[in-house]
């Protein structure tokens, strides 16, 4: 157990006792009395932890009520604090006082599980829209997902702004481009944005509920479809959580292949995003050139893994596709040609003053704000937060292959683009290293369902940032609850903050520089 967690436990211990929660694998886990849940949050905040996720589970199959879980993170240390909640009039202490990120997690718990966070300032529904009955709580075991529901009507209370010359611009959920749906509501004076309120949930598919009805192998496929552009990250995160729960260790070669696929996913998405940022400043030339590079990467994926996005290439206990010698040659050849062209394009990107004028100082997310929100991934790294799960958690093969984590502090659109530029270079370097030391051996180990009651936790660094899964096994060896936390769930909070003081026509550019997932957030 790390020193940080020990010191936190010591600080906590002055007020009450904590019990080790032995059922959880993959992270330190403790359970506390209901009245100490918020106290634990306060102590951990003081110890420098951030709130990584908060969720509730229905423990009816075990003959218990509900449980509320919060996972805190500090560097590579993850600490889960759980508290039991009675079935009648369920409620728990809100953590919003200490962690702004708790705000949406708890609204989600309230909307989908029907457990009230006490002391939460904003109990409007989140993800669940007003055409649902108020007392339909889909994540409860008593809710039957196959039954049709009556359609209700109601109003969502938007934040209002009043004053001379203040007007509102509502954008979405259907947008002009082919992008995912989300609603953005601006209060503006002239071109200046004074407030932005976002609303999501338009692509809520009931993924977390669906997990509970699937077998473990089907669940792997579902995880790969939470957010199509991060299919490898989500599948891997789910598999690692399930492997932790059942104490299965994938073979070395499988871990290397997983890491190679993760880096390839990162490269493809970063290439597409850098181009898309250029497109939003009407610099279409770079957009098309970067699209060509992304396409090259996707075609190599298709040739090696049989799927352009490498869907369903990770399985419980390992991977489904091995890399042949020919595949290695193909990858090395692609790395050479893409990198060469990439560097040439980056020079054009760098040497264009009109581009620079648009990207610098636009959409600034200050390091303080990023820390307060608990932002993760490249969004955090471009706002001065030195974090990367690959390095901090040292999971194989990153334990034996050091990586350089680029960190910028300006937090503007340029920083978010430039961190990605550096990451593309680093990912290609890593891929070459992995290929150089790719161990021989099997690509998958046998996997058995976990023991009833056991649960597994995992955190991996997807291309957007930290992806967290927590999966618990029910009495019959089935999935009792699977919690999904994409990087977007916390990073979406940051766009509302980054847009303050910007002008309306710069919003699409800012949004593109974050490029968070709607599907991964809405689930």
């Amino acid at each position: 157990m790390s020193e940080k967690i020990q010191s936190a436990l010591k600080a906590f211990g002055e007020k009450g006792s904590v019990e080790i929660d032995g059922a959880v694998k993959g992270a330190a886990a403790y359970s506390v009395q209901a009245d100490l849940f918020a106290h634990a949050g306060r102590v951990l905040k003081e110890e420098g932890f951030r709130l990584a996720a908060e969720w509730a589970s229905d423990e009816t199959p075990f003959g218990r009520g509900f449980a509320v879980h919060a996972v805190y993170a500090s560097a590579g240390d993850y600490l889960i604090i759980k508290t039991e909640v009675p079935r009648d009039e369920p409620s728990f202490q809100s953590l919003t006082k200490y962690f702004p990120a708790a705000s949406r997690f708890e609204r989600q718990i309230n909307s989908l599980m029907g457990i009230v966070p006490e002391g939460h300032p904003d109990l409007r529904p989140w993800i669940k829209h007003e055409d649902w009955p108020v007392d339909a709580w889909p994540l409860r075991k008593s809710f039957d997902g196959n039954e049709p529901m009556p359609r209700m009507s109601g109003d969502y209370q938007w934040v209002m702004a009043e004053g001379e010359g203040v007007f509102e611009v509502a954008v979405g959920p259907v947008h002009a481009g082919i992008i995912e749906p989300g609603h953005f509501r601006f209060q503006a004076v002239g071109e200046n944005i004074i407030n932005l309120e976002t609303r999501f949930g338009y692509v809520h598919k009931g993924i977390e509920k669906r997990f509970e009805a699937l077998s473990w192998n089907e669940a792997v496929k579902l995880a790969g479809r939470v957010s199509g552009d991060s299919t490898v990250a989500h599948t891997e995160a789910f598999c690692v959580a399930a492997e932790e729960a059942s104490a299965c260790t994938p073979p070395e070669r499988a871990r290397y292949i997983r890491a190679i696929m993760m880096e390839r996913e990162r490269i493809a998405n970063h290439l597409g995003d850098i181009g898309a940022i250029c497109n939003d400043t009407a610099f279409a030339f770079l957009h098309y050139q970067f699209s060509i590079l992304r396409e090259k990467v996707l075609r190599t994926n298709k040739a090696i893994f049989g799927h352009r996005l490498m869907m369903d290439s990770v399985c419980l206990g390992g991977v489904t596709k091995d890399i042949s010698i020919a595949g290695i040659d193909l990858m090395l050849e692609e790395a050479r040609s893409v990198l060469e062209e990439f560097e040439r394009l980056i020079k054009i990107y760098e040497n264009n003053p009109s581009q620079e004028d648009r990207l610098y100082n636009t959409g600034v997310l200050t390091p303080e704000m990023a820390k307060l929100i608990g932002a993760v991934g490249f969004v955090a790294r471009s706002s001065g937060q030195n974090m990367d799960v690959r390095r901090d958690r040292q999971y194989a093969p990153y334990d034996t292959h050091a990586l350089v984590v680029p960190v910028l502090s300006s937090g503007d659109v340029h920083a978010r683009a430039w961190v990605r530029v550096e990451e593309v270079r680093e990912s290609y370097r890593l891929i070459k290293e992995f290929i150089g030391s790719l161990p021989a051996g099997p690509i998958a180990a046998g996997w058995n369902p976990p023991l009833p009651g056991a649960s597994g936790f995992s955190a991996v660094e997807g291309w957007r940032g930290e992806v967290i899964y927590w999966v618990s096994c029910g009495p019959g060896g089935n999935i009792n609850r699977c919690m999904v936390r994409d990087a977007s769930s916390v990073n979406w909070l940051s766009i509302e903050q980054a847009i303050h003081g910007n002008i309306v026509p710069d919003f699409p550019l800012c949004n593109k520089s974050f490029n968070q997932s709607y599907s991964g957030h809405d689930l």
């Binding site: 954008v171 002009a176 009407a282 279409a284 009109s354 648009r358 002008i503 309306v504 919003f507 699409p508």
Partner: protein
Amino acid sequence: MIRQYYPILIESLQVILVLLGGPLLVGWVRMLKCWTQGRRSAGLLQPMRDVTKLFVKETVLAENASWIFRSTPYIVFGATLMAGAIIPVVSADLPLAATADIIALVAIFALARFFTALAGLDTGTAFGGMGTSREMMVSSLAEPAVLMSVFTVSLVSHSTSLSHMVHELTTVSFVLRPSLAFALLAFILIAIAETGRIPVDNPSTHLELTMIHEAMLLEYSGRHLALIEWASMMKLFLFASLGIALFLPWGIAGIDDPGMLPVALVALAVKLALTGVFIVLVETGLSKMRIFRVAEFLGMAFLLASLGMLSYFILE
């Protein structure tokens, strides 16, 4: 016989040229753009196909749209065509050019813009209002600059009548005039702003929040949209040919010189093709500027135009 009908013939030729030239020029620009970006183009005729397609599509009207919204497409199209009838594109001997001078021309464009702006406000959507406010900001800065720029040419040619100006400029022997050089630079900057090209506006964006001109047109569909799109293509053609007529008039057929017409047509095609190349070079090399930079950009145009006028009095 032919002498008698010559004015009518030349005027009809001119109107047909403007009607077809607009979509062709836009098609040419898009073609070049595709090539510079490494894409395959949809061909020279694609803008024409787009317009024809819009004409057969259903026209959807917002519930609270008033007569302003419904009549604006016709006013805009009519005004633009009217402007097309008075700018000497291939021949200085243009009968209608005598009815309106360059100040009236600027006013005709302003009329079209005024109604587009009203239509943008008419449906009461946030985007229309935003687009209108931006368009008005741009035009309030561009119009003085465009007048300053063309007045410099008027000073040089001692007239505000377009026909007379072109005739004057083509007949005098070629002299390097600093005033015209300044006026040309100013005119290029203004034309970019007026026709909504990069770096001022992005004609091909789908991002409503960033649009200037297009934001006012979001509610339009079917034949209304077809007319407006066609008009804005003609506007690009007209600004290009106005620039050609004022600053590079060589090749335009003079008064009583119908034999020059074929040459004039070829010269026009070459000059427009080169204008297209110029537009694409600018648009490939530049990002769209932040909206408040447009003020500086047009301020620069006004400054250049003023310098042109000053240098006429000081140097010439």
